[in-house]
Amino acid sequence: MKEYQQIQATYIHTPFCVQKCLYCDFASYACRDRQVMERYAEAVCKEIATGGAVKLPINPHATIYFGGGTPSTLPLECIARIVKALKEYKFWQQPAEATIEVNPGTADLDKLKALRTLGFDRISFGVQSLNDSELRTIGRIHSAQEALQAIAWAKEAGFDRISADLIYGLPGQTLASLRQTLEQLVATGIEHLSVYGLIVEEGTPLATLLNEGKLILPDEDVAADMYELVQQFLREQGFERYEISNYAKGEQYSKHNLVYWKYQPYAAFGAAACGFDGSARYTAASDVEAYINAQLSSFIYDTEQLSEAELLGEFMFMGLRKTSGANLQEARERFGVDIMERFAGEMEPFFQKGMLAYDSEAEVLRLTESGMELGNFVFEIFVTV
């Protein structure tokens, strides 16, 4: 059986946070009500018991990812219940990569030890910055010191695989403060980093503050300088860029996220969680109460059936995010399209400029380093309007 015919990953969404960050437009709610969380965990377990929307065989090595929101806000017992359900219904068959996102402000040594005991072998910390004033500006609940402490505890708790998220282009951020953040973070010895340029999403408090002129972003050129600083610094430190925004040492890639970029099927449970079976996406209600109530009766997913053209476009722009590129043989197999032929004219200028490279033997198309910086120009080739 082909990899794209099996569930390769399972995602569990926790829509709760201690406090919503100013830039966040994800499905998450500031919530400390233990009762709501318990009811929510129970609903997730019920959904797992139904098998979810994606009706495909599960790869025994399928990865697990607890994301959010902030999964670490859930009481341990709730997490344990969900883990038990995942194992019971074969979504989690060890040994498999199992990641949980943790907000440094919600971590303590005991909790981290408990998570490790539950079977999680990878932690992703939302560090974002190691500059306290930048952290406050974007509404994070933790300090730089707490982030470094959390990483140290994670190691003590037995986590060998630790990742940190960083954001550049923050209001008030400078090249110097970014460099300092990178240096301090790399010094902790973590082997995985996700580094994103700040995106100002409409409707977020951050967007309002910027519109009102109460905050100012670094200009386009400074942001581009920051981006280059990140590339250069992490390369020097021995990190491999394996995806547009992801870096790893010693091939410690996020297997789970690679499933997305390879455009393989994944199951998903929880409010607003989105599963994919290779031709359609299924999304559960994003409102927590609606989600819980839906679980009490029969469950309905918002289904997005993708057209052949949409599938092909997504396969390409997701695949090209990886430095290893998109597998064109698989594109032909799955969608019956010869990419090199169909898009020859539109791709030509990008080959000429050295932004795209093609390995005809392996049938792999990839963005070069310079191509990645302007990836959207290439991605647009493959979407249909």
Binding site: D221, I244, S245, L374, N376, E380, V385
Partner: protein
């Protein structure tokens, strides 16, 4: 009705001085329409006219008024367009009348546009009846306004009618003044038919409906008529008058105002100012004053989607059915593809046509900056009319160039005289004279290049005088000017649709403004784009649109793919709407950049 009981009149007023309100009040007072009927009628008129508060097409209404002397009179009110673009149409509408109400806001006084139309009316021998409006307002100063009328226009204003169209005060006095002062028509019913066409409109069922004033003879249903300017002949199918809706009758008699239809398919055969006569018994001479409307302002209209070209042509043809002054011919631009070079009476006319194309025909258009028509005298003795800057010949083959000038009349409070003169001087104006209308207001005359008027003269005039200045102008011929063509190059390629004709002394500054403006309008692309302004081979200004350094979706995971795909689709769609010029993607606003410089 006996000719002696007919009164044909129009109303001259500056915008906002109350023309429409007064007209409504007169129609209402005479019982021509009820209030509710009036609202319905008004709803039938063009949206654009109501929104802009201006009259584009002439209108006419027949009312029957029983005067204080007990006699019934037929009052024909002809409403004229109220904008300098339509001066010729106004003059023909006035020529259809024997008198005009000069309506002046008692709180404001005479404005340039009013004055221009009063002179038009005097040229047509109309009896002018001063009407001082808005006397209900606390700041009304009727005596001052009357004095101004006497000083400036030189007509007796001692028995000017005071009224408030809003409250209804003095409406009957206005009607009595019309009856008493406007001369009755004095045509000869026995003579061969002579009728003046003062407007026309296209009706899908009737064909062209001609708005006419019968000067001599009469028009009857079934008769064969001839248009004297074009020689075309038609059989009259319908005759009637306006209430203001069309009311059919058997004939229009001498002195009357009304309409007729004759299965005429094109307004080109029913031009404003033409004389209608009896084909079997023609008048020896047409009425004086006819001329073919000539466009003064030109621009290129291009469909955003190339596939809309045929739709654009169809739409222009349909508008032309109703508007003989609109001209267009196909043209090709390297930058914009296939489109049309269109000629208009003026800027307002251009705006109205553009807006109607977009609104009524759902077309997305790119418009190039408007320009005037130049007379280029080549060194080989040939004279060429250039209505598109892209076709301006090379400097080496040009002996000299002439451009249209206008006589501009500006009325302004005296404190702004300095500012107006400074602006007019900057705009290459030639000072002619200045007169004090009263102790506080001044009338200034300048000869100005029309190109400066359509560029930004009026906007600048309004802003430097805080809106107090009023402007009127009329073409006064062509004059020698030292003009050059400034070309714009993007990434080394000339963009024909961005070329502009400017005075040599200003070429440097305009070139610099243009490239700066374009730099700010052109989005960063994958490579650096030099934006240059050049005269011939000589580059006079340069800016660079710097290359985009980074454009890539920062993050994309499982739950986010649809949204990110839609984002990419939207970006791609946006780029599709831009015009690809060489390898540069140009937003539509860039083509209007030449016009809007600030």
């Amino acid at each position: 009705m006996d000719q002696s009981k007919i009164r044909n009149f129009s109303i001259i007023a500056h915008i906002d001085h109350g023309k429409s309100t007064l007209a409504d009040r007169l129609i209402e007072y005479t019982g021509t329409l009820t209030k509710r009927e009036m609202e319905e009628q008004i709803l039938d008129s063009m949206d654009l006219e109501r929104e802009r508060g201006i009259t584009i097409k002439a209108q006419a209404v027949r009312s029957i008024y029983k005067a204080r002397n007990g006699e019934e009179y037929m009052l024909n009110f002809i409403d004229t367009p109220g904008h300098v673009d339509f001066t010729y149409e106004v003059s023909r509408a006035l020529a259809a009348c024997e008198g005009a109400l000069l309506v002046i806001d008692s709180t404001q006084g005479i404005e340039a546009q009013t004055l221009a139309n009063v002179y038009l009316a005097l040229d047509n021998d109309l009896e002018i009846i001063p009407v001082v409006n808005k006397i209900d307002l606390p700041s009304a100063d009727p005596d001052h306004v009357k004095r101004e009328v006497e000083d400036v226009i030189g007509i007796d204003a001692s028995d000017a009618v005071l009224c408030s169209a809003k409250t209804g005060i003095g409406i009957e006095d206005v009607l009595e003044a019309i009856v008493a002062k406007v001369p009755a028509p004095s045509g000869d019913e026995a003579k061969p038919l002579k009728a003046l066409v003062f407007d026309s409109k296209f009706d899908a069922y009737k064909g062209v409906v001609l708005y006419v004033r019968v000067i001599d003879g009469s028009i009857k249903k079934g008769m064969k008529i001839r248009m004297m300017a074009t020689g075309a002949e038609f059989d009259v199918t319908e005759v009637g008058y306006f209430k203001p809706g069309l009311v059919n009758v058997d004939s229009l008699e001498v002195g009357q105002v009304g309409f007729f239809a004759a299965s005429i398919k094109n307004v080109k055969d029913a031009r404003v100012g033409d004389t209608v006569t009896d084909a079997n018994n023609p008048a020896p001479e047409p009425l004086p004053g006819y001329r073919k409307a000539t466009p003064m302002v030109f621009c290129g209209l291009y469909p955003v989607e190339n596939s809309d070209y045929d739709n654009l042509r169809d739409a222009l043809e349909k508008l032309q059915l109703n508007d003989a002054s609109l001209v267009f011919e196909p043209e090709t631009s390297i930058a914009l593809g296939f489109g049309f070079r269109c000629g208009f009476l003026g800027l307002l006319h251009m705006d109205v046509i553009k807006e109607r194309l977009e609104r009524e025909y759902g077309l997305a258009l790119i418009t190039t900056a408007p320009n005037v028509i130049y007379e280029v005298f080549r060194t080989n003795g040939e004279v060429e009319l250039v209505d598109n800057p892209a076709h301006f010949p090379e400097p080496t083959v040009i002996d000299h160039v002439e451009e249209p000038f206008v006589n501009a009349t500006i009325i302004v409070p005296k404190d702004y005289v300095g500012a107006v003169m400074e602006l007019s001087q900057e705009k290459r104006g030639e000072y002619e004279n200045m007169t004090y209308l009263d102790e506080s207001r001044v009338m200034i005359h300048y000869a100005l290049p029309l190109s400066e008027i359509i560029y930004d003269y009026f906007d600048r005039l309004k802003s430097t005088t805080r809106g107090y200045a009023s402007l009127d102008y009329e073409l006064c011929g062509y004059r020698d000017s030292n003009l050059v063509k400034v070309d714009i190059l993007l990434n080394g390629d000339q963009v024909d649709a961005l070329s502009a004709i400017v005075h040599r002394d200003k070429a440097q500054v305009r070139g610099r403004q243009l490239v700066e403006k374009l730099r700010s309008l052109i989005p960063r692309q994958m490579f650096e784009i030099p934006v240059q302004a050049a005269i011939g081979n000589k580059v006079i200004a340069r800016e660079n649109v710097r290359a985009m350094r980074k454009d890539v979706l920062a993050k994309c995971y499982g739950g986010d793919i649809s949204r990110k795909r839609k984002l990419l689709e939207k970006q791609k769609e946006g780029k599709k709407r831009m015009k690809q010029v060489g390898c540069v993607e140009l937003p539509q606003e860039a083509f209007m950049a030449i016009l809007k410089m600030d």
